[in-house]
Protein backbone atom coordinates (compact mmCIF):
# COMPACT_ATOMS: atom_id res chain seq x y z
CA UNK A 1 0.00 0.00 0.00
CA UNK A 2 1.21 3.48 -0.78
CA UNK A 3 1.21 5.90 2.11
CA UNK A 4 2.01 8.88 -0.11
CA UNK A 5 1.25 9.43 -3.76
CA UNK A 6 1.81 12.59 -5.75
CA UNK A 7 0.81 13.17 -9.34
CA UNK A 8 2.14 16.18 -11.23
CA UNK A 9 2.72 18.09 -8.01
CA UNK A 10 3.68 21.73 -8.62
CA UNK A 11 4.13 24.50 -6.07
CA UNK A 12 4.75 28.14 -6.90
CA UNK A 13 5.40 31.03 -4.56
CA UNK A 14 4.57 34.12 -6.59
CA UNK A 15 6.76 33.79 -9.65
CA UNK A 16 9.08 31.22 -8.09
CA UNK A 17 8.45 27.61 -9.01
CA UNK A 18 9.57 25.67 -5.94
CA UNK A 19 8.36 22.26 -7.12
CA UNK A 20 7.80 21.31 -10.72
CA UNK A 21 5.55 18.49 -11.85
CA UNK A 22 6.64 15.84 -9.36
CA UNK A 23 5.16 12.35 -9.54
CA UNK A 24 6.02 9.59 -7.09
CA UNK A 25 4.73 7.16 -4.51
CA UNK A 26 6.16 6.08 -1.17
CA UNK A 27 5.23 2.64 0.11
CA UNK A 28 4.29 1.69 3.64
CA UNK A 29 6.94 1.08 6.31
CA UNK A 30 9.94 2.15 4.26
CA UNK A 31 12.65 4.60 5.29
CA UNK A 32 13.23 7.11 2.52
CA UNK A 33 16.00 9.68 2.42
CA UNK A 34 15.07 12.94 0.70
CA UNK A 35 18.35 14.29 -0.56
CA UNK A 36 19.11 17.49 -2.40
CA UNK A 37 21.21 20.63 -2.26
CA UNK A 38 20.01 23.71 -0.41
CA UNK A 39 17.04 25.32 -2.11
CA UNK A 40 16.10 22.13 -3.94
CA UNK A 41 12.56 22.22 -2.54
CA UNK A 42 12.91 19.52 0.12
CA UNK A 43 11.13 21.40 2.88
CA UNK A 44 8.36 22.59 0.56
CA UNK A 45 7.72 19.04 -0.58
CA UNK A 46 7.64 17.73 2.99
CA UNK A 47 5.32 20.51 4.15
CA UNK A 48 2.89 19.70 1.35
CA UNK A 49 2.94 16.02 2.34
CA UNK A 50 2.39 17.05 5.96
CA UNK A 51 -0.58 19.19 4.93
CA UNK A 52 0.98 22.48 6.08
CA UNK A 53 1.07 23.88 2.55
CA UNK A 54 -1.30 23.42 -0.34
CA UNK A 55 -0.06 22.34 -3.76
CA UNK A 56 -0.54 24.88 -6.58
CA UNK A 57 -1.50 22.10 -8.96
CA UNK A 58 -1.37 18.33 -9.17
CA UNK A 59 -2.72 15.73 -6.84
CA UNK A 60 -1.37 14.80 -3.41
CA UNK A 61 -2.66 11.85 -1.39
CA UNK A 62 -1.50 10.84 2.08
CA UNK A 63 -3.31 7.84 3.57
CA UNK A 64 -5.49 8.16 0.45
CA UNK A 65 -6.66 11.66 1.43
CA UNK A 66 -5.81 15.22 0.56
CA UNK A 67 -3.47 16.14 3.42
CA UNK A 68 -4.19 19.88 3.49
CA UNK A 69 -6.15 20.79 6.64
CA UNK A 70 -6.89 17.12 7.16
CA UNK A 71 -7.43 15.81 10.69
CA UNK A 72 -6.80 12.15 9.83
CA UNK A 73 -3.44 13.04 8.32
CA UNK A 74 -2.58 15.37 11.22
CA UNK A 75 -3.30 12.66 13.78
CA UNK A 76 -1.25 10.00 11.98
CA UNK A 77 1.68 12.12 10.91
CA UNK A 78 4.39 14.03 12.71
CA UNK A 79 6.65 16.63 11.13
CA UNK A 80 9.89 17.41 12.94
CA UNK A 81 12.14 20.31 12.02
CA UNK A 82 14.16 22.97 13.81
CA UNK A 83 11.35 25.52 13.54
CA UNK A 84 9.07 23.62 15.91
CA UNK A 85 7.48 25.89 18.48
CA UNK A 86 5.96 24.89 21.77
CA UNK A 87 4.08 27.01 24.31
CA UNK A 88 6.65 29.06 26.19
CA UNK A 89 4.95 28.48 29.53
CA UNK A 90 5.37 24.68 29.39
CA UNK A 91 8.39 22.84 30.71
CA UNK A 92 9.90 20.03 28.68
CA UNK A 93 8.21 17.37 30.80
CA UNK A 94 4.87 19.16 30.39
CA UNK A 95 5.38 19.18 26.63
CA UNK A 96 5.95 15.43 26.72
CA UNK A 97 2.73 14.99 28.70
CA UNK A 98 0.68 16.99 26.22
CA UNK A 99 2.25 15.17 23.25
CA UNK A 100 1.25 11.92 24.95
CA UNK A 101 -2.34 13.13 25.03
CA UNK A 102 -2.37 13.91 21.33
CA UNK A 103 -0.59 10.96 19.74
CA UNK A 104 -2.38 7.64 19.98
CA UNK A 105 0.74 5.45 19.88
CA UNK A 106 2.88 7.66 22.11
CA UNK A 107 5.59 5.71 23.95
CA UNK A 108 6.34 7.51 27.21
CA UNK A 109 8.89 4.92 28.29
CA UNK A 110 10.97 5.55 25.17
CA UNK A 111 10.57 9.32 25.57
CA UNK A 112 11.77 9.23 29.18
CA UNK A 113 14.60 6.83 28.36
CA UNK A 114 15.93 9.08 25.63
CA UNK A 115 15.32 12.14 27.80
CA UNK A 116 17.58 10.75 30.53
CA UNK A 117 20.16 9.41 28.12
CA UNK A 118 20.65 12.83 26.57
CA UNK A 119 20.60 14.51 30.01
CA UNK A 120 17.74 16.88 29.29
CA UNK A 121 16.35 18.76 32.27
CA UNK A 122 12.58 18.12 32.65
CA UNK A 123 12.07 21.55 34.27
CA UNK A 124 13.79 23.40 31.43
CA UNK A 125 11.89 25.47 28.83
CA UNK A 126 12.15 24.66 25.13
CA UNK A 127 12.99 28.20 24.01
CA UNK A 128 15.93 28.26 26.43
CA UNK A 129 17.59 25.18 24.95
CA UNK A 130 20.65 25.40 22.73
CA UNK A 131 20.21 24.64 19.04
CA UNK A 132 21.57 21.11 19.37
CA UNK A 133 19.51 20.40 22.50
CA UNK A 134 16.37 21.64 20.74
CA UNK A 135 17.03 19.27 17.86
CA UNK A 136 17.60 16.45 20.35
CA UNK A 137 14.34 17.19 22.15
CA UNK A 138 12.42 17.43 18.86
CA UNK A 139 13.88 14.11 17.79
CA UNK A 140 12.60 12.50 21.00
CA UNK A 141 9.10 13.82 20.27
CA UNK A 142 9.36 12.52 16.70
CA UNK A 143 10.40 9.02 17.76
CA UNK A 144 8.13 8.64 20.79
CA UNK A 145 5.06 9.77 18.82
CA UNK A 146 5.35 6.56 16.75
CA UNK A 147 3.24 8.07 14.00
CA UNK A 148 2.51 5.84 10.99
CA UNK A 149 4.06 8.64 8.91
CA UNK A 150 7.09 10.25 10.53
CA UNK A 151 8.85 13.11 8.76
CA UNK A 152 12.21 14.52 9.86
CA UNK A 153 13.29 17.65 8.00
CA UNK A 154 17.03 18.12 8.54
CA UNK A 155 16.71 16.64 12.04
CA UNK A 156 20.34 16.81 13.09
CA UNK A 157 20.83 20.58 12.81
CA UNK A 158 23.18 21.66 15.58
CA UNK A 159 23.68 18.16 16.97
CA UNK A 160 27.24 17.09 17.63
CA UNK A 161 28.65 14.01 15.90
CA UNK A 162 27.99 11.71 18.85
CA UNK A 163 24.34 12.70 19.21
CA UNK A 164 23.79 12.37 15.45
CA UNK A 165 25.10 8.84 15.55
CA UNK A 166 22.94 8.01 18.56
CA UNK A 167 19.92 9.55 16.86
CA UNK A 168 20.21 7.44 13.73
CA UNK A 169 20.85 4.33 15.81
CA UNK A 170 17.79 5.07 17.96
CA UNK A 171 15.71 5.68 14.84
CA UNK A 172 16.75 2.37 13.31
CA UNK A 173 16.21 0.34 16.48
CA UNK A 174 12.81 1.84 17.09
CA UNK A 175 11.89 1.27 13.44
CA UNK A 176 12.90 -2.41 13.70
CA UNK A 177 10.53 -2.82 16.65
CA UNK A 178 7.80 -0.58 15.27
CA UNK A 179 7.99 -0.39 11.48
CA UNK A 180 6.48 2.76 10.04
CA UNK A 181 6.87 5.07 7.08
CA UNK A 182 9.74 7.47 7.68
CA UNK A 183 11.11 10.27 5.54
CA UNK A 184 14.36 11.99 6.51
CA UNK A 185 15.63 14.95 4.56
CA UNK A 186 19.26 15.91 4.46
CA UNK A 187 21.69 17.54 2.11
CA UNK A 188 24.20 14.90 3.12
CA UNK A 189 23.58 11.31 2.21
CA UNK A 190 26.57 9.64 3.83
CA UNK A 191 25.42 9.87 7.44
CA UNK A 192 22.00 8.33 6.76
CA UNK A 193 22.80 6.09 3.81
CA UNK A 194 23.05 2.82 5.75
CA UNK A 195 19.70 3.04 7.48
CA UNK A 196 17.74 4.03 4.36
CA UNK A 197 15.85 1.71 2.10
CA UNK A 198 15.15 4.23 -0.65
CA UNK A 199 16.57 7.49 -1.77
CA UNK A 200 14.67 10.34 -3.37
CA UNK A 201 16.89 12.86 -5.08
CA UNK A 202 15.53 16.37 -5.57
CA UNK A 203 17.15 19.36 -7.20
CA UNK A 204 15.77 22.64 -8.47
CA UNK A 205 12.26 21.53 -7.64
CA UNK A 206 12.44 18.41 -9.77
CA UNK A 207 12.71 14.75 -8.98
CA UNK A 208 16.02 13.42 -10.23
CA UNK A 209 15.95 9.87 -9.01
CA UNK A 210 14.01 7.57 -6.72
CA UNK A 211 15.63 4.22 -6.17
CA UNK A 212 16.67 1.68 -3.54
CA UNK A 213 19.91 2.87 -1.97
CA UNK A 214 21.60 -0.42 -2.78
CA UNK A 215 21.09 0.26 -6.50
CA UNK A 216 22.57 3.72 -6.24
CA UNK A 217 25.90 2.36 -5.13
CA UNK A 218 26.14 0.20 -8.22
CA UNK A 219 24.87 2.83 -10.58
CA UNK A 220 28.16 4.47 -11.57
CA UNK A 221 31.92 3.95 -11.53
CA UNK A 222 34.87 6.22 -12.06
CA UNK A 223 37.61 5.62 -14.60
CA UNK A 224 41.05 7.16 -14.42
CA UNK A 225 43.60 7.03 -17.17
CA UNK A 226 45.48 9.05 -19.77
CA UNK A 227 43.31 11.83 -21.09
CA UNK A 228 43.41 10.80 -24.74
CA UNK A 229 42.45 7.23 -23.84
CA UNK A 230 39.60 8.34 -21.60
CA UNK A 231 38.35 10.92 -24.08
CA UNK A 232 38.28 8.42 -26.89
CA UNK A 233 36.68 5.73 -24.80
CA UNK A 234 33.93 7.85 -23.32
CA UNK A 235 33.17 9.99 -26.39
CA UNK A 236 29.64 8.59 -26.75
CA UNK A 237 29.00 8.19 -23.04
CA UNK A 238 27.01 10.28 -20.73
CA UNK A 239 29.50 11.75 -18.29
CA UNK A 240 28.25 12.68 -14.82
CA UNK A 241 31.46 14.17 -13.63
CA UNK A 242 34.88 14.86 -15.05
CA UNK A 243 38.08 16.30 -13.74
CA UNK A 244 41.71 16.51 -14.72
CA UNK A 245 44.27 14.65 -12.69
CA UNK A 246 47.70 16.14 -13.13
CA UNK A 247 48.63 17.20 -16.63
CA UNK A 248 47.79 14.19 -18.77
CA UNK A 249 45.25 12.25 -16.77
CA UNK A 250 41.53 12.40 -16.61
CA UNK A 251 38.94 11.10 -14.17
CA UNK A 252 35.38 10.49 -15.35
CA UNK A 253 32.25 9.11 -13.77
CA UNK A 254 29.96 7.09 -16.02
CA UNK A 255 27.31 4.42 -15.67
CA UNK A 256 28.62 1.11 -14.42
CA UNK A 257 27.02 -0.99 -17.16
CA UNK A 258 28.48 1.32 -19.83
CA UNK A 259 31.90 1.13 -18.18
CA UNK A 260 31.79 -2.65 -18.09
CA UNK A 261 31.06 -2.74 -21.83
CA UNK A 262 33.90 -0.33 -22.56
CA UNK A 263 36.38 -2.23 -20.44
CA UNK A 264 35.44 -5.49 -22.09
CA UNK A 265 36.25 -3.96 -25.46
CA UNK A 266 39.24 -1.83 -24.56
CA UNK A 267 40.79 -3.94 -21.82
CA UNK A 268 41.89 -2.52 -18.49
CA UNK A 269 45.32 -1.59 -19.73
CA UNK A 270 46.38 1.68 -18.17
CA UNK A 271 42.88 2.32 -16.84
CA UNK A 272 41.97 2.29 -13.22
CA UNK A 273 38.42 1.70 -12.07
CA UNK A 274 37.08 3.15 -8.84
CA UNK A 275 33.77 2.88 -7.06
CA UNK A 276 31.81 6.11 -6.67
CA UNK A 277 30.48 6.89 -3.23
CA UNK A 278 26.72 7.27 -3.15
CA UNK A 279 26.87 10.76 -1.68
CA UNK A 280 29.34 11.90 -4.32
CA UNK A 281 27.07 10.53 -7.02
CA UNK A 282 24.16 12.47 -5.54
CA UNK A 283 26.17 15.65 -5.81
CA UNK A 284 27.06 14.89 -9.42
CA UNK A 285 23.47 14.06 -10.32
CA UNK A 286 22.08 17.21 -8.77
CA UNK A 287 24.63 19.61 -10.16
CA UNK A 288 23.61 21.54 -13.22
CA UNK A 289 26.88 21.46 -15.08
CA UNK A 290 26.50 18.12 -16.80
CA UNK A 291 23.28 17.74 -18.72
CA UNK A 292 21.77 14.53 -19.90
CA UNK A 293 20.16 13.55 -16.64
CA UNK A 294 17.34 11.95 -18.62
CA UNK A 295 18.96 8.55 -18.70
CA UNK A 296 18.49 8.40 -14.97
CA UNK A 297 14.72 8.83 -15.34
CA UNK A 298 14.55 6.44 -18.28
CA UNK A 299 15.91 3.75 -16.07
CA UNK A 300 12.65 3.36 -14.18
Amino acid sequence: MDVISCQGLTKTFGRVRALNNITFTIGQNRITGLIGPNGAGKTTLLKIIAGFLRASSGEVRVFSEDPFNNLKVAANMIFIDDQMRFPQSLTLSEILASAAAFYENWDMELARGLFDYFSLDPEQYHHKLSKGMKSTFNMIIGLAARCPLTIFDEPTTGMDAGVRKDFYRALLRDYLQNPRTIIISSHLLNEIEDILEDIFLLSEGEKRLQTPVSDLKEFAVALRGRREVIDKLTADQEIYYQKSVGKDYSYVVIRRDAAEELLKKAGRDGLEVFPVKADDLCVYLTSRKRGGIDSVFDRN
Partner: protein, 135 residues
Amino acid sequence: MELNAVEGKPIYVQIAEWLEEEILRGHIKEHEKIYSQYQLAEMFNINPATAAKGINILADQGILYKKRGLGMFLSPEAKEKIRDKRKNHTLKKLVEEVVFEAQLLGVTEAELISMIRDAGKEFDEHDEHEGIEGG
Protein backbone atom coordinates in the same frame (compact mmCIF):
# COMPACT_ATOMS: atom_id res chain seq x y z
CA MET B 1 32.76 -6.24 12.29
CA GLU B 2 32.41 -2.73 11.03
CA LEU B 3 30.99 -2.29 7.58
CA ASN B 4 33.17 -0.45 5.18
CA ALA B 5 31.26 2.42 3.66
CA VAL B 6 34.20 3.85 1.78
CA GLU B 7 35.03 0.74 -0.15
CA GLY B 8 32.92 0.32 -3.24
CA LYS B 9 31.28 -2.93 -2.22
CA PRO B 10 27.58 -2.47 -1.61
CA ILE B 11 26.52 -3.12 1.98
CA TYR B 12 24.34 -6.10 1.05
CA VAL B 13 27.30 -7.78 -0.66
CA GLN B 14 29.35 -7.22 2.50
CA ILE B 15 26.54 -8.81 4.52
CA ALA B 16 26.47 -11.84 2.22
CA GLU B 17 30.25 -12.19 2.49
CA TRP B 18 30.17 -11.86 6.26
CA LEU B 19 27.57 -14.63 6.46
CA GLU B 20 29.69 -16.81 4.17
CA GLU B 21 32.65 -16.36 6.47
CA GLU B 22 30.56 -17.26 9.50
CA ILE B 23 29.50 -20.42 7.67
CA LEU B 24 33.06 -21.30 6.59
CA ARG B 25 34.28 -20.88 10.15
CA GLY B 26 31.63 -23.33 11.26
CA HIS B 27 29.74 -20.83 13.42
CA ILE B 28 26.49 -21.84 11.74
CA LYS B 29 25.69 -25.54 11.41
CA GLU B 30 23.81 -27.47 8.75
CA HIS B 31 20.03 -27.02 8.94
CA GLU B 32 20.53 -24.37 11.59
CA LYS B 33 18.53 -21.13 11.36
CA ILE B 34 20.62 -18.18 10.30
CA TYR B 35 20.36 -14.57 11.44
CA SER B 36 17.15 -12.82 10.45
CA GLN B 37 17.19 -9.61 8.45
CA TYR B 38 16.21 -7.76 11.63
CA GLN B 39 19.05 -9.22 13.67
CA LEU B 40 21.52 -8.29 10.94
CA ALA B 41 20.02 -4.81 10.67
CA GLU B 42 20.57 -4.27 14.37
CA MET B 43 24.04 -5.80 14.40
CA PHE B 44 25.34 -3.74 11.51
CA ASN B 45 23.15 -0.67 11.87
CA ILE B 46 21.63 -0.98 8.43
CA ASN B 47 18.17 -0.99 6.91
CA PRO B 48 16.52 -4.43 7.20
CA ALA B 49 15.73 -4.40 3.47
CA THR B 50 19.46 -4.16 2.76
CA ALA B 51 20.11 -7.07 5.12
CA ALA B 52 17.39 -9.10 3.39
CA LYS B 53 19.07 -8.49 0.06
CA GLY B 54 22.29 -9.95 1.42
CA ILE B 55 20.46 -13.02 2.72
CA ASN B 56 18.68 -13.45 -0.61
CA ILE B 57 21.94 -13.62 -2.54
CA LEU B 58 22.85 -16.71 -0.53
CA ALA B 59 19.36 -18.17 -0.89
CA ASP B 60 19.51 -17.74 -4.67
CA GLN B 61 22.78 -19.67 -4.70
CA GLY B 62 21.32 -22.55 -2.70
CA ILE B 63 23.53 -21.83 0.30
CA LEU B 64 20.43 -21.13 2.37
CA TYR B 65 16.98 -22.57 2.09
CA LYS B 66 13.69 -21.15 3.21
CA LYS B 67 11.17 -22.71 5.54
CA ARG B 68 7.90 -20.93 5.09
CA GLY B 69 7.15 -18.75 8.06
CA LEU B 70 10.23 -19.88 9.96
CA GLY B 71 13.07 -18.14 8.21
CA MET B 72 16.25 -19.13 6.40
CA PHE B 73 18.30 -22.22 7.20
CA LEU B 74 21.73 -23.44 6.23
CA SER B 75 21.69 -26.07 3.50
CA PRO B 76 23.99 -29.09 3.91
CA GLU B 77 25.94 -28.24 0.74
CA ALA B 78 26.52 -24.65 1.89
CA LYS B 79 30.21 -24.91 2.72
CA GLU B 80 31.02 -26.74 -0.47
CA LYS B 81 29.15 -24.18 -2.55
CA ILE B 82 30.81 -21.22 -0.88
CA ARG B 83 34.24 -22.78 -1.25
CA ASP B 84 33.67 -23.50 -4.93
CA LYS B 85 32.36 -20.04 -5.63
CA ARG B 86 35.05 -18.21 -3.75
CA LYS B 87 37.82 -20.29 -5.28
CA ASN B 88 36.61 -19.83 -8.83
CA HIS B 89 35.69 -16.17 -8.52
CA THR B 90 37.12 -14.32 -5.55
CA LEU B 91 40.44 -16.11 -5.32
CA LYS B 92 40.91 -16.22 -9.08
CA LYS B 93 40.37 -12.47 -9.32
CA LEU B 94 42.78 -11.80 -6.46
CA VAL B 95 45.41 -13.97 -8.11
CA GLU B 96 44.96 -12.08 -11.36
CA GLU B 97 45.53 -8.83 -9.52
CA VAL B 98 48.62 -10.19 -7.81
CA VAL B 99 50.03 -11.34 -11.15
CA PHE B 100 49.19 -7.99 -12.73
CA GLU B 101 50.99 -6.11 -9.97
CA ALA B 102 53.96 -8.51 -10.11
CA GLN B 103 54.34 -8.01 -13.84
CA LEU B 104 54.13 -4.27 -13.45
CA LEU B 105 56.95 -4.41 -10.90
CA GLY B 106 59.00 -6.92 -12.86
CA VAL B 107 58.79 -9.53 -10.10
CA THR B 108 59.72 -12.97 -11.45
CA GLU B 109 57.51 -16.01 -11.12
CA ALA B 110 59.95 -17.70 -8.75
CA GLU B 111 60.08 -14.60 -6.55
CA LEU B 112 56.31 -14.38 -6.50
CA ILE B 113 55.88 -18.01 -5.54
CA SER B 114 58.35 -17.67 -2.70
CA MET B 115 56.47 -14.58 -1.49
CA ILE B 116 53.24 -16.59 -1.49
CA ARG B 117 54.94 -19.36 0.49
CA ASP B 118 56.21 -16.89 3.09
CA ALA B 119 52.77 -15.34 3.45
CA GLY B 120 51.32 -18.83 3.86
CA LYS B 121 53.71 -19.60 6.70
CA GLU B 122 52.70 -16.44 8.54
CA PHE B 123 49.03 -17.31 8.21
CA ASP B 124 49.61 -20.82 9.50
CA GLU B 125 51.17 -19.42 12.63
CA HIS B 126 48.32 -16.94 13.14
CA ASP B 127 45.48 -19.29 12.36
CA GLU B 128 46.47 -22.29 14.38
CA HIS B 129 43.93 -21.42 17.06
CA GLU B 130 41.25 -20.05 14.74
CA GLY B 131 40.19 -23.51 13.62
CA ILE B 132 39.17 -22.68 10.07
CA GLU B 133 38.17 -25.98 8.52
CA GLY B 134 40.21 -26.31 5.38
CA GLY B 135 39.00 -27.88 2.14
